[in-house]
């Protein structure tokens, strides 16, 4: 459905040039929810803008259902719906007017547009807000309106740039639920995000870092590929110095131990043995452990392991 072949894009300013997308190649063949996961500045937005035909690549090709986006843009653009990070809605138009405007952009006849708008309003739960101006909507409702606008011409591929950013947890869950429903209706949904919880719910996740796709697969696949059959032991130590000391000793022993907040996260393939060792070590060092927890690795752990950079940190 979507092929990105060796795409390169460099942004040039007077003083510097930044390679935003660096030889990216990926192929998505069946309806699924694809999450492009990466920190701010990784090149996600630039890549999606190239895929959506907004910014031309310096090199490479984008094919939408076999049609080259930059050779036959009008044909290719009919097959995608794009929703930019800030929604791309006219703030001074109502929900209904925004949908009609989106229909106009795709030359949908008025009667068909009205029918389609009613369907989407119902599907996205916007019935009570039809006459409201977009600027009066909450962030979550505005994102839904944005998705609805992108679906007006019923494209097989939906591209969403950071759709969950700025939403509260409940609105985020609801939006991803909605995207999953679209997948079940046969759509390929491509979304960029820097929120791992949202990426966890995708079918395929691509890790983007410094313009490159550094890993790709289902969330379970990438975790297993990165860590094997492992767990993460979380060791909570309140005292800063003690936490630092304990983590350093563990690292000196060749262990994958990182600090996150008040917690040391230790990747372990033998939880019982490792936990005993840590408790013994802490007792010897006089470090007071408040609590220990055992969990599965998250995508954020994968990203950290792959790049050495924590998600959420600016690049």
């Amino acid at each position: 459905m979507l092929r990105i072949l060796d795409v390169v894009k460099t942004w040039r300013t007077r003083s510097a040039s930044i390679r935003a997308v660096d030889h990216v190649t990926l192929e998505l063949e069946k309806p699924s929810l694809f999450a492009l996961l990466g920190p701010n500045g990784a090149g996600k937005t630039t890549l999606l803008n190239i895929v959506a035909g907004i910014v031309p690549p310096d090199q490479g090709r984008v094919e939408i259902m076999g049609i080259d986006m930059w050779r036959e843009p009008e044909k290719a653009k009919r097959l995608i719906g794009f929703s930019p990070q800030e929604g791309g809605v006219f703030m001074d138009l109502t929900v209904w007017e925004n949908l009609m405007y989106a229909a106009t952009m795709h030359r949908i006849p008025s009667s068909d547009a009205r029918k389609r708008a009613k369907e989407l309003i119902e599907f996205l739960g916007l019935e009570e807000h039809v006459k409201k101006l977009a600027k009066k909507l909450s962030g979550g409702l505005r994102k839904r309106l944005s998705v609805a606008m992108s679906l007006m011409h019923d494209p097989p591929i939906l591209i969403l740039d950071e759709p969950t950013t700025g939403l509260d947890p409940r609105a985020r869950i609801e939006l991803v639920d909605l995207l999953r429903k679209l997948v079940s209706r046969g759509k390929l949904v491509v979304m960029s995000t820097h929120i791992t919880e949202d990426a966890e719910r995708s079918d395929v996740v691509g890790f983007m870092f410094r313009g490159r796709i550094v890993e790709m697969g289902s969330p379970d696949q990438v975790k297993e590929r990165t860590f094997g059959k492992v767990r993460v032991i979380e060791i909570e130590v309140l005292e800063d110095n003690a936490r630092e000391k304990l983590a350093k000793v563990l690292r000196d022993q060749g262990r994958d131990a990182r600090i996150g907040g008040t917690t040391i996260e230790l990747v372990s393939s033998n939880v019982r043995e490792d936990l005993d060792r840590v408790l013994e070590l802490a007792e010897r060092m006089g470090v007071r452990i408040l609590e220990t927890r055992i969990r599965e690795p998250r995508l954020s752990d994968v990203f950290l392991k792959l790049t050495g950079v924590k998600l959420g940190e600016e690049q």
């Binding site: 800030e86 929604g87 809605v89 138009l93 795709h106």
Partner: protein
């Protein structure tokens, strides 16, 4: 498709308080200010309260003077005759009348001023005027002296009649010639360009239309794509089959809608308060005036596009377009004054700016009803200068290729 899209954008813009104020409300406010402050109904002038103090035996004199003041055409004067038994010139009373009773002028007549009416004596009249400022004092003094002058004229007329009776025509003429050897004769000729209230309002209304057309078009042209960056609408639009040139046409159509609406409202308000705007649907020259305004709107948009190409920051481009448009509107005769009143380089600019030429032509046709043959040199100059500007824009944008450059600049 383009018309429907433009209608939606037009609707969105109408919900924007900035657009409503600067393009609709402000020109109307200005027309109303002109109509009721600078050229108020009733032919202009001003109003003042005037007291005539009769200190005794001056009733006829005071009544005659009051009648003269009440009938002055250039001022609305409320006259009150006050009988007082003060000692001439009654300065204390005059001061009280000015300071406490708010009279602007107090004329004190001496006792038995009525005797002057039968030519028995010279009357010494004292005039007190309110003087909050020197210009105010000058204005009241002029009005007071105007009435006194007219009264003297009446006396002279009456006494000359008795002079001719007593001396005969020949001798009387000699006496008069020794007093006043010059007899000017004045005749009023109405100019083709009237400066009556209706015309002045008509010019202001056309100036307001010029303001709406130039400011909105230039800012829209300079901010091409930029205003769609709010909420990243531009990115969405660029992801649709719509091309940049379509966006340009939508932009221009929306601009024409805004200008047409702002102009129509301004003209309607202007006509409602007495402005002279002549429009006869069967008169071809009146339609030509409308066409000239439409072309001027396009030219202003083109100047905006040039600013957008030359200035990298969209916000700076918008600021510069406001500055350039206001300079062209206010200093080259688009709004006020007419270009005949301009001097120096401003007159030269007005003579060659297609925007000034356009609104000058529109004023001459729609306010002064001048014929096309008189305006032919200006029309030719307007057509040539407009073509030059449009051609420069087409060349600068490489037939549309540089639109992408501007759009990506806005996106980045």
């Amino acid at each position: 498709m383009i018309l429907r899209a433009a209608l939606y954008e037009f609707r969105a813009l109408l919900r924007h308080p900035d657009v409503l104020f600067w393009i609709i409300a402000w020109p109307i406010i200005w027309v109303l200010i002109t109509a009721y402050v600078f050229v108020p109904p009733g032919g202009g002038g001003f109003s003042l309260d005037l007291a005539i103090v009769d200190t005794g035996g001056s009733r006829q004199f005071a009544t005659m003077l009051a009648e003269i003041y009440e009938n002055l055409s250039n001022a609305s004067i409320n006259v009150e005759i006050i009988n007082a038994s003060c000692e001439y010139p009654c300065k204390d009373l005059a001061e009280r009348l000015v300071k406490e009773k708010d009279f602007e002028v107090v004329i004190v007549l001496p006792r038995n001023a009525d005797e002057a009416l039968i030519g028995r004596s010279i009357v010494d009249v004292k005039i007190f005027v309110k003087a909050s400022s020197s210009s105010e004092a000058y204005m009241y003094q002029g009005t007071a002296m105007q009435g006194i002058g007219m009264l003297i004229g009446k006396f002279v007329q009456r006494n000359i009649a008795s002079l001719f009776k007593e001396l005969g025509y020949e001798k009387a003429m000699k006496v008069l010639a020794s007093i006043s050897p010059v007899k000017p004769s004045i005749e009023e000729i109405r100019p083709s360009k009237g400066w009556d209230r209706a015309s002045v309002l008509g010019l202001t209304v056309m100036g307001s239309v010029g303001y709406v057309a130039i400011l909105n078009s230039m800012v829209t042209g300079a901010g091409i794509f930029a205003y769609r960056t709010q909420g990243e609408v531009l990115r969405r639009l660029l992801s649709t089959p719509l091309r940049l040139r379509h966006l340009l046409v939508i932009d221009l159509a929306t601009n024409f809608m805004i200008v047409a609406m702002g102009s129509a409202i301004t003209v309607a308000v202007g006509i409602g308060i007495g402005a002279r705007i002549l429009f006869d649907p069967v008169n071809a020259s009146h339609w030509l005036a409308i066409a000239v305004i439409v072309v001027a709107t396009l030219v202003a948009y083109c100047i905006g596009l040039l600013i957008a190409l030359g200035v990298k920051d969209p916000r700076a481009a918008s600021g510069i377009s406001v500055m350039v448009s206001l300079i062209l509107i206010f200093t080259t005769g688009v709004w006020w004054p007419p270009k005949e009143m301009l001097r120096g380089f401003m007159r030269t600019l007005a003579d060659w700016s297609p925007l000034s030429l356009a609104f000058d032509i529109a004023k001459q046709i729609l306010v002064w009803n001048r014929s096309l043959d008189v305006l032919m040199p200006e029309l030719t100059r307007f057509a040539i200068t407009s073509l030059i500007i449009v051609a420069i824009v087409v060349l600068a944008y490489g037939g549309g290729k540089r639109l992408e450059k501007v759009a990506y600049r806005v996106l980045s």
